[in-house]
């Protein structure tokens, strides 16, 4: 027998449990899972700080993380929107990490994101490339103050080792496992690929690039690694449920994190457009988040209220004549999709 009792919080009154240090919140999901919007919403809570995609944890040090970007490149080609702004070749290596991290450091060091402040942030990164990623996070935490850092980098979930590194660095970090219906996720993949022809050509027809497979394998990796975490450390949430009923779910997220649930705090979360990372950055670091979100970061209540989960059955538009595999159906039903 292996009785395992909760040790992380008193029941019911989570807010009464003082956290000695604000552990970061990491949002894990495949690409195209509403993570930019969700991260920004949570990040606007007065006791949180929403970050763009830092893409750390790809290596043990800041420098190693940079060098790991070619590995990331493959994931980008599977549909990450940040590729849109890059040219081919070496520049591609820097896309995600550079933009998100550069914008963060420019904003926190100098309070603004311009070509000049981004340039100085880049110099800072070069000087500190030997820093362990934990030290980089601690630096950001120090600049942000006593607020919970909210980080989302879908690229983490592509490789088991990235999440393992993240958990070794932050063994008590909170994890929000964000889910979107596989059909909706895949259609978003297809949409972004059709918008960006070069991405589509690069992705080709490899089974590994199939959006259904990316959806399934990413969730499987997340579930496998988070399975043995302390109860309540990792929470799963359907993006469709959250976004179509923010008034119900946002207080729950706050309660889970042990932060304020009052009207003022919830209202602040309803305005992700107030994030300093909610619009395109300067030309030298324009992205760091989903470009669709950057174009229109405000919550469209009317549209979200109509958000419906698609069906699992039926033909897949990107694989004519085929339906979801039994493995995908099994996992999707486990998540509560029909």
């Amino acid at each position: 027998m292996h009785f395992k009792r909760l040790s992380w919080a008193k029941p019911q009154s989570l807010k009464q449990v003082p956290l000695p240090m604000p552990e970061p919140l990491f949002i894990l999901c495949p690409p195209r899972s509403y993570s930019s919007l969700v991260s920004s919403i949570i990040g606007e809570h007065p006791e949180c700080y929403g970050l763009p995609e830092l893409a750390l944890f790809l290596g043990d040090t800041l420098g190693q993380s940079w060098c790991a970007f070619p590995v990331v490149r493959r994931a980008l080609l599977e549909g990450h929107p940040a590729i849109e702004a890059s040219d081919s070749g070496p520049a591609l290596r820097h896309v995600i990490g550079r933009d998100g991290l550069l914008r963060t450091l420019a904003q926190l060091h100098e309070g603004t994101q311009t070509v000049d402040t981004v340039s100085r942030a880049n110099e800072w990164l070069v000087r500190h490339s030997d820093w362990p990623v934990r030290k980089v996070f601690d630096h950001i935490q120090e600049l942000v103050g006593d607020r919970i850092l909210v980080e989302k980098s879908p690229v983490f979930a592509r490789e088991q080792s990235y999440i393992e590194r993240m958990l070794s660095v932050f063994p008590k970090g909170r994890i929000l496992h964000l889910i979107r219906h596989p059909r909706g996720t895949a259609q978003s993949f297809i949409s972004i690929r059709s918008t960006h022809g070069r991405v589509s050509r690069a992705a080709g027809n490899s089974p590994a690039r199939d959006p259904e497979r990316v959806w399934r394998t990413t969730h499987e990796v997340i579930m496998m690694i988070t399975e043995d975490l302390s109860l309540g450390q990792c929470m799963r949430l359907k993006g469709e449920a959250l976004l179509s009923d923010l008034e119900n779910y946002l207080p729950q997220i706050c309660e889970w994190l042990g932060i304020r649930t009052d009207r003022e705090a919830i209202n602040a979360m309803m305005h992700p457009e107030n994030s300093p990372y909610a619009r395109r950055g300067p030309p030298s670091a324009p992205l760091g988040n989903d470009p669709n979100y950057l174009e229109n970061p405000a919550i469209d209540r009317e549209r979200l209220a109509k958000l419906k989960e698609p069906r699992l059955d039926g033909e897949l538009p990107w694989r004519p004549g085929e339906t979801f595999t039994p493995e995908t159906l099994r996992l999707a039903r486990q998540f509560g999709y029909q």
């Binding site: 027998m1 292996h2 909760l6 799963r236 729950q252 509560g336």
Partner: protein, 466 residues
């Protein structure tokens, strides 16, 4: 404050199936006319010697008697077939290995076999034509479930057609009384040579105010109008309502309620859907009990933590506490966001009460101010499967005096890893009775290639705690 019985207060009053090791499970219990009645079951009875019985226990004398034994019928081919799940496509997961002799050989050797596989549910009820409360018992039968009735605990009579007119009904999993009605829910399907012991072809709730006369009506539409509700697993009266818990492989179990007013069919309303937002890992609502003004509901996955027919699991069970106004708490289970608010297990115990192998909470009872629950724990199966040198595991009995803080009472099958489950719990003035489910045969079949043969006690047990 009431105190939870400790392990040393429990005594085995029946062991090794009371002389019939093949009767594996004390599937149902009732307190009737001052005696304890236990309905036993056997997976595939092929001879008179392993026929299931309804046993009567005289507490004063400490003596067991057979109150009823399955009659024998001519062996038919379909009766000899091992279980197969209709629609199953050989999905992965723990597989039951049955080795049964061919039907022709069986018939030649024994000719007649027990009609019933067991007695799955019991209820003391007084219908319109019952001169006094009678004991009603549901059989598990491949020829269609039958309801038995006894006026005195000595003589049992058949009071229903097989399956209430549908012989494909394998059993009635739940019998419960409220407002002068006896409620019954079918479970299991006989389809030619295939038997599913749990899911129903037509998951209805039936009701009768005079079951002795065999008059039954529909109390609810099939699956409460939801085609993915594949069975009604549990029925329980509380707060002047009847609660019904479903098995639902697509969405997770549901809990429904009715005040049972007027004439049937009654108006039912959902209390909890989508497995309490744990979805289909909370496959079925297996047990309920009222305690200190709330209804406790035990849920989980049938089988060995893995529902083969629908490829669900392995998963561990949960315990919920439901209030009369429909609000509910998670007592043990997975912390989660939900449409009902943040659910944090008040016991601070996760799924399976912190034990992955507790696939479900399958028995609940309030006794002397304490709520007890019994689990189905399949760790020993896994031990054999991976050829572990140590075989550990077995059912657990937990107790709580407030419904929130739980203490393990009996662990590891009370010393027998082959005792996977607590199938029945009964509170009486004489003490708390615990009926077990033994899977020694399953373990033995799985371990045929082991050098060291397994030597665990076989057959159900009944424990008395006082």
């Amino acid at each position: 404050m009431a105190s939870v019985l400790s392990a040393d207060r429990f005594t085995a009053i029946a062991t090794e199936g009371l002389g019939r090791k093949s009767t594996t499970t004390a599937a149902s219990m009732a307190y009737f006319r001052g005696a304890i009645f236990v309905g036993t079951s056997c997976l595939n009875p092929l001879a008179r010697g392993n026929a299931p019985r309804v046993l009567r226990y005289d507490v004063e004398r400490g003596a067991w008697e057979t109150a009823y034994e399955s009659p024998l019928i001519d062996a038919a081919t379909h009766l000899q077939e091992p279980d197969r799940k209709p629609g199953q496509d050989g999905a992965a997961g723990p597989q039951r290995r049955e080795r049964l002799p061919a039907a022709a050989i069986v018939q030649k050797a024994i000719g007649r076999i027990p009609r019933d596989s067991g007695y799955r549910s019991m209820c003391v009820f007084q219908g319109k034509s019952d001169p006094r409360p009678a004991l009603y018992v549901s059989t598990m039968s491949r020829s269609g479930a039958i309801l038995l009735r006894s006026n005195d605990g000595e003589v049992f009579e058949q009071v229903s057609e097989p399956g209430l007119g549908d012989p494909s009904v394998y059993s009635f999993r739940a019998l419960a009384e409220m407002n002068g009605y006896l409620f019954a829910s079918p479970a299991g399907t006989v389809a030619g040579s295939d038997v599913d012991r749990n899911l129903a072809t037509d998951p209805k709730v039936y009701v009768s105010d005079d079951p002795r006369k065999g008059k039954w009506l529909n109390a609810a539409g099939s699956g409460f109008g939801n085609a993915s509700n594949r069975a009604i697993y549990s029925l329980y009266p509380a707060f002047d309502r009847m609660y019904a818990g479903t098995a639902n492989p697509d969405l997770g179990c549901q809990l429904w309620q009715t005040a049972a007013l007027g004439k049937p069919p009654f108006d039912w309303s959902p209390v909890i859907i989508n497995g309490g937002d744990g979805f289909n890992r909370n496959f079925a609502s297996c047990a309920m009990a009222e305690f200190r003004g709330a209804l406790y509901v035990g849920v989980g996955v049938t089988g060995l933590g893995y529902e083969r027919a629908h490829d669900i699991g392995p998963a561990s069970g949960e315990l919920w506490r439901v209030y009369p106004d429909g609000r509910w708490d998670l007592i043990a289970g997975q912390t989660r966001f939900s449409p009902y608010g943040l659910k944090v297990p008040l016991s601070r115990l996760g799924p399976g009460l912190g034990d992955f192998y507790n696939a479900r909470i399958q028995a609940l009872v309030a006794h002397n101010g304490v709520l007890y629950l019994g689990t189905f724990q399949w760790e020993s199966y896994r031990c054999v499967e991976i050829e572990s040198s140590d075989i550990v595991g077995g059912y657990q009995l937990w107790g709580s005096d407030d419904g929130a803080q739980w203490t393990p009472v009996l662990e590891d099958g009370n010393g027998n890893p082959a005792d996977f489950g607590i199938a029945s719990l009964l509170s009486t003035p004489h003490g708390l009775f615990v009926g077990t489910s033994n899977q020694c045969r399953l373990l033995s079949n799985l371990s045929l290639d082991r050098e060291a043969k397994l030597d665990f006690p076989q057959g159900f047990e009944v424990l008395l705690g006082r």
